[in-house]
């Protein structure tokens, strides 16, 4: 089973998001990047499939800000066999649509049986990577997948609907899968192992032969103006607890 995991480096939400002077996008000099959290799930699911059915796992991403190595070393430490970065003259934001096209061009030649991606990312303004990869690679796609197995040319995937209902599909490979959650929480890679990968592993580079990008026209980006804001309760925990209990009593929610 030749498994490819397509990943995305996205702005981290840990710090306050700063906008550029024009107010049309993030100030990308002021944000850290991290692996999209759904891609962590996709990497885990790929590792689980490899353990169950054998095969190789290749992790590939577009190196938009030239800081993807650590993410790729971590993926290798978690069980990926090969890491690939697409390099070129990029500048953030390199939008999803453009990243999907670059990824599809690179993945096409790898003849994968399975292409896994995180089902979404926090910056997917013009589309999630998975369905676009499927369109460009002409493969079937199922997203919001919470369980899967793949054996001998067929995958069985469990797709989530609302209310805890799921649907099961059988799909002839190759296919693209958008992972919502792996069967187990993503494994932890010890720092020592990541360091070791950083010293010994080779990251393949694919030069992008496409530099015509097509971003959407953002008129304005802003922090949402809330219609209202919670009335904040200050004080030590005891005072806060007392105030909350008081609110519940006032409303007849506590005897």
């Amino acid at each position: 089973m030749n498994i490819v995991v397509a990943i995305k480096h996205v702005p981290s939400l840990t710090d306050e998001l700063e906008l550029n002077d024009e107010g049309t996008n993030l100030d990308f000099d002021m944000v850290d990047f991290a692996l999209s959290e759904w891609d962590e799930q996709a990497i885990e699911e790929a590792a689980l499939i490899k353990e169950a059915s054998g095969g190789t796992v290749t992790v590939i991403g577009v190196d938009v800000i030239e800081e993807l190595d650590n993410v790729l070393h971590t993926a290798l430490a978690k069980g990926a066999d090969k890491a690939v970065k697409i390099v070129g003259d990029f500048e953030p934001p390199l939008e999803s649509r453009d990243q999907a096209r670059l990824l599809a061009d690179a993945i096409r030649g790898m003849s994968p049986d399975l292409v896994l991606t995180g089902v979404q990312a926090i910056d997917d303004l013009n589309g999630q990577i998975g369905p676009m990869l499927a369109a460009y690679l002409d493969m079937p796609y199922v997203g919001v997948v919470v369980g899967m197995r793949a054996i001998a040319g067929t995958a069985t995937v469990e797709k989530e609907y609302a209310g805890g209902v799921t649907a099961e599909f059988k799909v002839s490979l190759p296919m693209v899968v958008g992972i919502q959650a792996a069967a187990h929480p993503p494994r932890y890679a010890p720092v020592s192992k990541i360091r070791q990968m950083a010293k010994t592993a080779v990251i393949d580079e694919i030069e992008a032969d496409d530099d015509e990008f097509d971003p959407v026209s953002i008129i304005k980006m802003s922090k949402p103006v809330a219609a209202s804001h919670a009335e904040m309760i200050d004080g030590d925990p005891e005072a806060v607890a007392e105030k909350i209990i008081g609110l519940l009593r006032e409303r007849g929610l506590l005897a």
Binding site: V142, F169, M221, M232, L253
Partner: protein, 317 residues
Amino acid sequence: MSNDILVMTEQLSGKVNDISYEMVGKAKALAGTLGGEVVAVMLGSGMSDAANSFAADTTIYVDDPALADFNPEAYSKVIAALVTEKSPRLTMIGSTTMGMDIGAWLAAKTNQQFVAYVADLAAADGDLVATSQLYAGKLTAEVALEGASVTAVLAGAFPAEAGRGSTAAEQIASPVPLNDLKTKFVQLNRPEGGDIDITAQEKLVAVGRGIGGEDNIELAEELAEALGAVVAASRPVTDAGWLPKTRQVGKSGVAVKPKLYLMLGISGAPEHLEGMKDADLIIAVNTDANAPIFDVAHYGTTCDLFDVAEAMVEALE
């Protein structure tokens, strides 16, 4: 390109998802300004009652046994054929677990612009602007929809009532062959009964990522017991297996409308808000003063959730 708006409606086992009516209603308001018609599209089999329930100018109902149940490949192919034929100015698809399989695929396949996570749409002088929620709801982007475009619309963004109607649907056969699909629908799996139904509870104590670990669920259970409430959760908690899936509130969980929704360590991502924003009283405990949940909650505190929960349990005993 026409000035029409095509709305991809959604059904599960013949029951129309409210997002369909929400989109049709909004499309009608936009069509008035754009000067086109609203074309609702429903895919299914033997579901003409559902197909006749929209307030669109035209409803196209594609009836084929292969479309009885949602199938991402079959549905995508049919909708792509219809979009190519009708060439609408705007195609609206739900940002739902079904719609997310189609929207970006359709836009890439038909080479149209796509905007995801749309919370609002506005039309003026032939221009269309979509407002998208990004970065887990921390930022919004206003995007000009240039040329024929596809948008994925968030559930609950528009009222459903304006989209309900009784337009007699025009039933057609599938415009594309569906006999050589690589994707086969096998079955629906419904959650096992036995657990508490959180939609029937008057009081919920909801825990999120901030609860930190399975061992800490016990504290939330203690607080819930003291309040006569039940413990619910956001997605990261059920994904981690700390609570069963039946307790999950939000987009892929259930929608709840309790009298009290006390939130411990939930930041308020749009997917979660979708399932609880109509609760009577929302109190949020979260150490991040900038968490989006404070724009939705009635009361909030940035105190540590463990300290507050312990203090509440103690005070109630």
